[in-house]
Amino acid sequence: MKSAPVIVGILLIIAFSSCEKVINVDLKNEIPRLVIEGMVDDAGNPAKVIISKTAIFSASGNYPKVTGAVVKITDNLGNIFSLAETSAGIYTNATLAGVVGRTYHLSVILDGKSYTASSTMPRKATLDSLLVDNNAIGNIGQKWIGVVYKDPVGFGDNVQVVQTINGKADRLTHVAYDLYDDGGSSSFFITTGKIKLKAGDVVKAELRFIDENVFRYLLGVQNLADGFTIPENPNSNISGNVLGFFSVHSSETKTIVIP
């Protein structure tokens, strides 16, 4: 089992969260900053880089997309892949298929400035099965999805699960660290957040093995959502003081129908 200590924190806050109220808070607005999110996997998905800018808190989520960047990914064998802007701010290349063990370098050139990152594809993720657990933790009467996978021998096989429910993203970050128990069969139980699962729902879970820098970035995102630590921007693995991350990960996907 992975990362369950986080659950301990969740439990505490739920116990006292009965008196919630939406309020107005006078927030300072920072000038927009650049956000770069890049992904390469071994599951046949096109390599994708999204470039956008931050918005003010009160904005309604239409993050300004950044067009006109020159985006390239090279690997440690010297192969160069150019990513074309297929829609505003989204740059893709369908021929780039990630290979376990290879290091990939991202280069984004925008307005004369260069932003770079590198990420190495970790070992192959092998997802065994998905299961459903009715768990009273937090007393929210919700079902948890268990992702059962093989943990290769050696520590540091940190994982991420990307989950959709009936085709809709759960808008949550789920990462777990491989720190306590090495090898064997691991299971990572994740919540579905505000979505209450019911019989017949189709849950699709993608297991990713991610590298250490990406893991720390996503753990930072997960901590921000949980709210148990002093909030701070996660450390990006991309140079040039930007937000976001460049992840090269191995991936496997399974679906389960809620009984």
Partner: protein
């Protein structure tokens, strides 16, 4: 080297202040005449042409010198009738004095048990004594009277959060408070996620809190010492007290073992918190429960006129069970065995063996998988203290102690076989020792000084692997040590100095300087009140935390002793403070030191307090203006930032009014600037969700916190035999229902994730309480 220094110092002190030839020593013990309970801080004054006086120590013992002659002697203690008699002194002699307790409802509520104007003359500053009678009258959450919450109503002590028993002293962290129960440190002094303290007030006799000039006999923490002494138990008769409250019931039994020779006390408290929290709904998946309990035990026996033994213990536990899937429990255990011996009639010795333990367990089950976390910190401590009354102008305290710390920092283990290999988290071993000497001297009638030195040492011991890191936190090298081998030692000198200068009989000016060192560090990046703390000793990477505190103060009493005014200004410089890397992993991480960042801190402020001590209306107004900042490499661009507990203004008003013989009412009002927090300065999308953007650390504020609590006590009519008494306590916490922010979180709107909202959680509004108390004396 250390020993040499101490010996030279002692020899010098002894020769400089040898006793006058014709003088005799009057020593003895001051007790409650009804119960035989010794009185701490009772005042003994001898009048002839000039007056001399002293106070009883922590065991009710005093020693005073006087030349041959006839004196008027007065013995007084707050809440007791003053005993006045004539004494002829022509030889050294021992006295046993009993004072009669005043009836509680007629007793003027005295805020301190200090003698009139003693606060002016004494060199010690930054000390507060709490009176248990007063603690019983101040309204608190759910009627659970609580010493740690009463402390928070004094200037300089700030609540760590709504309803919390944790507190910050002069900008320090909650882990920088040394909380002692009969000399044993209590590592986690709270129950139920911080809402209640571990101290059952029924079992407590005396509480002294030091926020500034900490005497040299205390050490090991940077910010404060809360020295709590348990009752010894009734020496004369069987005594049963108890109460039924809104969330807890308690009982307290004390009786003599052998009348006037020895006694015992047993106190127990158990909550039914499950009900109050509404957390536990039956989900049909097994047992649900949430409760805590405390047991205090103490026995003492007078072996001879010069020897007394004490055995005290505390055991407390919290337990939370949520079905088959989750259970956790945590608590403290302490035990103290003490031997008091009086050499001659002016050298008081106390020898203590102390055991202290805090541990927690967590069990989580998902599907067929189960994992467990276990953590503990355990101390074995041997301590020797001497208290030498050289003359009425000169007192020397000296002693030392040695503590063996064993820490299991929280390993995660899997109960089910997954085919994997668990990674253990190493236990850490260390030995902390200290020697101290402190000399209290009346230099002139106006000037009194206390100067002292504490020499402390921490030796980190094997067995274990210790790591060296580069700047980014990667391991460069590992060194393996065998059992008992010294990894690293830290020796520190901690000078302590304070002085008072009487401007008039009713006013004085004081100054102090103190250095404190802390070798045990609380490692937690959580902002919630979970008990899942990880303690670590200093290591090759973690250096001892230090604090240098400078303070000056002005004190004034009104001539009739009705009002007391005090004002102190302090500046504190902190070094080797600990913070955490981005997305740090603390729990179950053997390599946790790689997640730490270090830096410095500074705290400064002004505290003022006006107290009304006598009359039907009593109470105080306290005000604090303060600032506390940290500067950590790797956080906030290396610039100073507000610590979380930084709150600029802090006001507390406490009023108590005795309406008539049966009714008394009380009210407290507190106001503080909101805590320093980090709020978003924008947002973006990453990993398919909204992520908020942050800039400067703790640059924003929660809304100001304020709250009014009301209380009333009704004494039942006395029954004829007077053996049985009862009373009712009523209270309302947050009487005007202010929605104070406990947390403010930012999230996507549920039905429109493109939009964001801020959500405030507030905890307690209009919380009523009723407690019924009873008392039976044989």
């Amino acid at each position: 080297m250390k020993f040499c220094f101490l010996l030279i110092f002692l020899a010098w002190a002894a020769t400089s202040y040898a006793q006058d030839k014709q003088s005799f020593t009057i020593s003895g013990t001051i007790k409650d005449a009804g119960t035989g309970e010794t009185l701490i801080g009772a005042n003994i004054v001898l009048y002839a042409t000039k007056q001399t006086g002293t106070l009883t120590n922590a065991y009710g013992f005093f020693s005073i010198n006087a030349k041959e002659g006839t004196y008027k002697m007065s013995v007084s203690f707050a809440g007791y009738s003053t005993d006045t008699s004539t004494i002829v002194i022509n030889k050294s002699q021992e006295l046993l004095i009993g004072l009669q307790s005043k009836k509680i409802q007629l007793d003027a509520v005295v805020v301190t048990s200090k003698n009139k104007n003693e606060n002016i003359a004494k060199a010690i500053m930054g000390v507060d004594k709490l009176n248990m009678t007063e603690i019983n009258k101040i309204p608190v959450l759910l009627g659970e009277k609580d010493i740690l919450k009463t402390i928070q109503l004094m200037p300089g002590y700030k609540s760590a959060g709504e309803g919390s028993s944790g507190f910050n002293v002069r900008g320090g962290g909650t882990e920088q408070n040394l909380i002692l129960l009969d000399e044993a440190p209590v590592y986690n002094a709270s129950h139920l996620f911080g809402f209640f303290s571990t101290f059952n007030s029924d079992a407590i006799k005396d509480v002294s809190v030091y926020k500034g000039g900490m005497p040299a006999q205390y050490g090991g923490r940077l910010s404060s010492v809360v020295d709590i002494k348990m009752k010894d138990g009734n020496q004369k008769n069987l005594d049963v007290e108890g109460g039924l409250g809104a969330i807890a019931s308690r009982i307290n039994v004390s009786a003599p073992i052998v009348k006037d020779k020895g006694s015992f006390i047993i106190s127990a408290r158990r909550t039914y918190a499950d009900v109050f929290l509404g957390l536990i709904k039956d989900t049909g998946q097994g047992k649900q429960s949430l409760y805590f309990y405390d047991i205090n035990l103490k026995a003492n026996y007078k072996i001879s006129k010069k020897d007394r033994l004490f055995l005290s213990g505390y055991f407390g536990r919290d337990e939370l069970i949520v079905g088959n899937q989750f259970s956790t429990d945590w608590g403290n255990k302490t035990a103290t065995l003490r031997w008091n011996h009086i050499f001659g009639n002016s050298l008081f010795s106390n020898t203590s063996f102390i055991f202290s333990n805090f541990d927690y367990k967590v069990r989580v089950k998902f599907g067929d998988d189960e994992f467990r976390i276990f953590s503990k910190i355990e101390d074995l401590n041997f301590k020797q203290d001497f208290d030498w009354n050289i003359s009425n102008k000169s007192k020397l305290r000296f002693g030392g102690n040695i503590i063996n710390h064993t820490i299991a920092p929280g390993a995660v283990a899997f109960a089910t076989t997954t085919g994997g290999v668990a990674k253990p988290v190493q236990n850490r071993f260390s030995i902390e020792s200290a020697m101290y000497v402190s000399h209290e001297l009346k230099v002139t009638d106006k000037l009194e000084i206390i100067y002292g030195l504490r020499a402390s040492n921490l030796s980190v011991k094997g067995a274990g692997n210790f790591y060296n890191y580069d700047k980014a936190g990667n391991i460069i090298s590992t060194t393996t040590y065998t059992k008992g081998e010294t990894v690293v030692s830290y020796f520190n000198l901690e000078p302590r100095f304070s002085a008072s200068y009487k401007l008039t009989e009713l006013s004085s000016f004081k100054a102090s300087y103190n250095r404190n060192v802390q070798n045990l560090h609380l490692i937690t990046n959580a902002t919630s009140n979970a008990p899942y703390d990880v303690w670590l000793p200093s290591t090759n990477n973690i250096k001892p935390e230090t604090a240098d505190q400078y303070a000056v103060g002005y004190y004034k009493n009104s001539s009739e002793g009705m009002y007391e005014f005090s004002s102190e200004v302090y500046y504190k410089a902190l070094e080797n403070q600990i913070d955490y890397r981005n997305a740090a992993i603390i729990l179950g991480n053997d390599n946790v030191e790689s997640e730490l960042l270090y830096g410095i801190g500074r705290a400064y402020g002004l505290e003022m307090m006006m107290r009304k001590k006598t009359g039907r209306v009593t109470g105080w107004v306290g005000y604090t203006l303060s600032k506390v900042e940290k500067k950590i490499e790797g956080i906030n661009n290396g610039d100073y930032f507000n610590a979380r507990q930084d709150r600029t203004h802090d006001i507390s008003i406490v009023g108590m009014y005795d309406v008539n013989k049966r009714w008394s009412v009380s009210a407290t009002w507190v106001y503080t600037t909101g805590s320093a927090v980090t709020f978003p300065t924008g947002k973006y999308e990453a990993n398919g969700q909204t992520v908020f953007l942050y800039s400067d650390r703790n640059a924003a504020r929660f809304p100001a916190y304020h709250r009014l609590d009301l209380g009333a006590t009704l004494e039942a009519r006395k029954n004829k035999s007077r053996r049985y008494q009862s009373s009712w306590t009523f209270g309302v916490f947050n009487a005007y229902g202010r929605e104070n922010a406990y947390t403010i979180t930012f999230r996507e709107k549920k039905d429109d994730p493109a939009k964001s909202e801020a959500v405030r959680t507030s905890l307690f509004r209009f919380v009523p309480s009723v407690t019924w108390n009873f008392k039976f004396n044989q």
